[in-house]
Symmetry: C2
């Protein structure tokens, strides 16, 4: 089979880590006799530099015409600390989410055994953690209108909006994933305060009878923020709205202790994108020291979710796991041992797969 | 001096823990020659049972006419899992916040050395943590209008609103507290997405020159959720808006590992209230097993913040610290050692003070 992959490497370390993920995909293609056709396009600060906009039309067209998007990272220090700048890389991200209809951000959290000691949490809390955070990504207070200032500039407002359709789509996805996993779904909201949360709860309750095998629990967001730390293995699939998801998925990501290992997928109406959860890490750009594993694991998610290539996906994950066990790691994980370069780790993975 | 204290014991274990805090206050009164005059009133589920409303007018009047409010906890299982119930205990809480103008919730986090091992975090991350979370409590998406549903019921919306005055009041409080502490202020927002956050940042930046000795940093809420876990000692004073504060203060509270020890204060325009951060713990009600220390420490905050009695406040905190070191603790902290009852711990504290 042949698959069209849009490659948006982005800023900072983006190009270096994406290059390794492509090499890994090529090794898979060769071994399993697939064809991956890559086309590159600009996004983020590098797109602003060239086109004056962080998500150019041609990038959007490419994404629309691809079977999946492999994404690096965006962000450049020159745009930081200036939330009022006219054009910012993050706007590219938000525009892309909206235009591609990327309604669900998936973040699996399944720490590698060999890395449990890197967690800020005590090891016994991490053992057996295997949970999937699903964050709604195109609704809520991120996109609700009106948003702005009163005429005298002295009052600011944002609007959180959800329609029944938006909620049903993402909650269903949660039920479906839970069905393929340990059959437990946690809906996180703030139904004791917010009207939007009450709609979420109402719809989830309406869907429950369609999925009798799934155990559903409803949890307030403040409680969820505690449970992620005190008892992470209680979660199987968690679904929540955009803003809560922004906070909770980042909170959940650090308990693994190795941000450089965490992949994500954003499921789209048109096409889906796959990207590491870490940022563009500008200090490391061009130094060949960044950890490519999160991007490689994102490519593994692409194989599984976008192309249905489960065996191929599992082999990529196995390769990463073995590289960790072999201590063939970049400096973020080296802990005084030998640190290998981005390309060396990529080559190791490619060789393992072959 | 004589002080009028409104006592709202509330539901569940509320009455038991508040009784111990009163005993401790009485011991302080005797030793330092003060007079504390207590008047009790109903709030929460127990107020619904009697008056049909969780924050009756007479309770409000009492609070308005008191120098401070000592609060237990509210919440009853019969109202849980029914976010659409007409009358709920939490409404009493929100009504009280609004009517008393409780605009700032203060949560100091300074774990006791003898309890560091109880934290879900590795001990080395906890050592030296001493941080104060300040949450805005009467604005934002909790109280913004419109809130509700479209006519067909298919769209729900909430509104987050902040005025310049509301923001300035709380940010100033942050600057003031930072000035009395380690002179570092972290403003947590989501200025890359929200108009209200951009107002927060604008106002904080405007105030900066008035407090040249304070180092100010701006942090996105998703990043703050990570830093609380990975590097809590970086914080001195953190200020944030209502919803973010709900999530982050609860997240921060569990890293101490002993919720039963954490006090809080809500600073009001009219009068201030002092309460443990833990809930009403209905399973333990009436059993004389609940940990009274969080409430006792809340009374210590009252002595300091509401009455300016610093020496008295410090003595209460010392008593609690010594009780922990002496292992004279309730069952939540006993770990296989002897567990003392609520009243026994209260008596120990009273004797220590005398
Ligand atoms: C950059 C920012 C707008 C974005 C978000 O809040 O969604 C980021 O934090 C993320 O989680 O991808
Ligand atoms: C009960 C609820 C409305 C309340 C809040 O969200 O403010 C609680 O979580 C708190 O933090 O005091």
């Amino acid at each position: 089979m042949s698959y069209k992959i849009a490659v948006l490497a982005g800023d900072g370390i983006g190009p270096e880590i994406v290059a390794q993920a492509r090499n890994v995909l090529d090794a898979i293609a060769e071994k399993f006799n697939h064809q991956f056709e890559y086309t590159e396009a600009l996004i983020g600060a590098s797109a602003i530099d060239v086109h004056g906009t962080p998500y150019p039309d041609e990038t959007h067209k490419l994404c629309m015409n691809s079977d999946a998007v492999l994404f690096g990272a965006i962000g450049d220090p020159k745009y930081d600390n200036d939330p009022n700048a006219k054009v910012r890389p993050e706007q590219g991200l938000l525009a892309m989410r909206q235009k591609l209809g990327l309604y669900a951000n998936l973040r699996p959290l399944e720490p590698f055994k060999a890395l449990l000691h890197k967690s800020p949490l005590k090891t016994e809390l991490l053992e057996g953690v295997d949970f999937l955070c699903i964050r709604e990504l195109t609704g809520g207070i991120y996109f609700g209108r009106p948003q702005g200032r009163s005429e005298d500039g002295k009052t600011a407002y944002d609007t959180c909006v959800y329609t029944a359709e938006e909620v049903e789509r993402i909650v269903r996805l949660g039920f479906e994933f839970a069905g393929k996993r340990r059959k437990k779904l946690t809906i996180v909201d703030k139904a004791n305060v917010l009207a939007t949360s009450r709609l979420w709860r109402e719809i989830a309750q309406k869907l429950e009878p369609e999925y009798p095998e799934i155990e559903v629990e409803y949890m307030f967001v403040d409680n969820a923020a505690m449970q992620i730390i005190t008892w992470p293995k209680r979660f199987d699939v968690m679904v929540t709205e955009n803003m809560f998801g922004d906070i909770l998925t980042d909170e959940a990501s650090v308990i693994s202790g190795s941000l450089g290992m965490l992949p994500s997928a954003s499921i789209g109406v048109h096409t889906s994108i796959f990207e590491p959860i870490h940022g563009s890490y500008p200090q490391a750009a061009g130094k060949n020291i960044a950890n490519p594993c999160a991007t490689v694991l994102s490519a593994a998610m692409m194989l599984d979710h976008a192309f249905g290539l489960k065996q191929e996906s599992a082999l990529v994950r196995l390769a990463v796991e073995k590289s960790i066990e072999a201590n063939f790691v970049t400096e973020d994980l080296a802990e005084g041992g030998k640190a290998f370069s981005t390309t060396e780790v990529g080559d190791w993975l490619v060789n393992f797969i072959k």
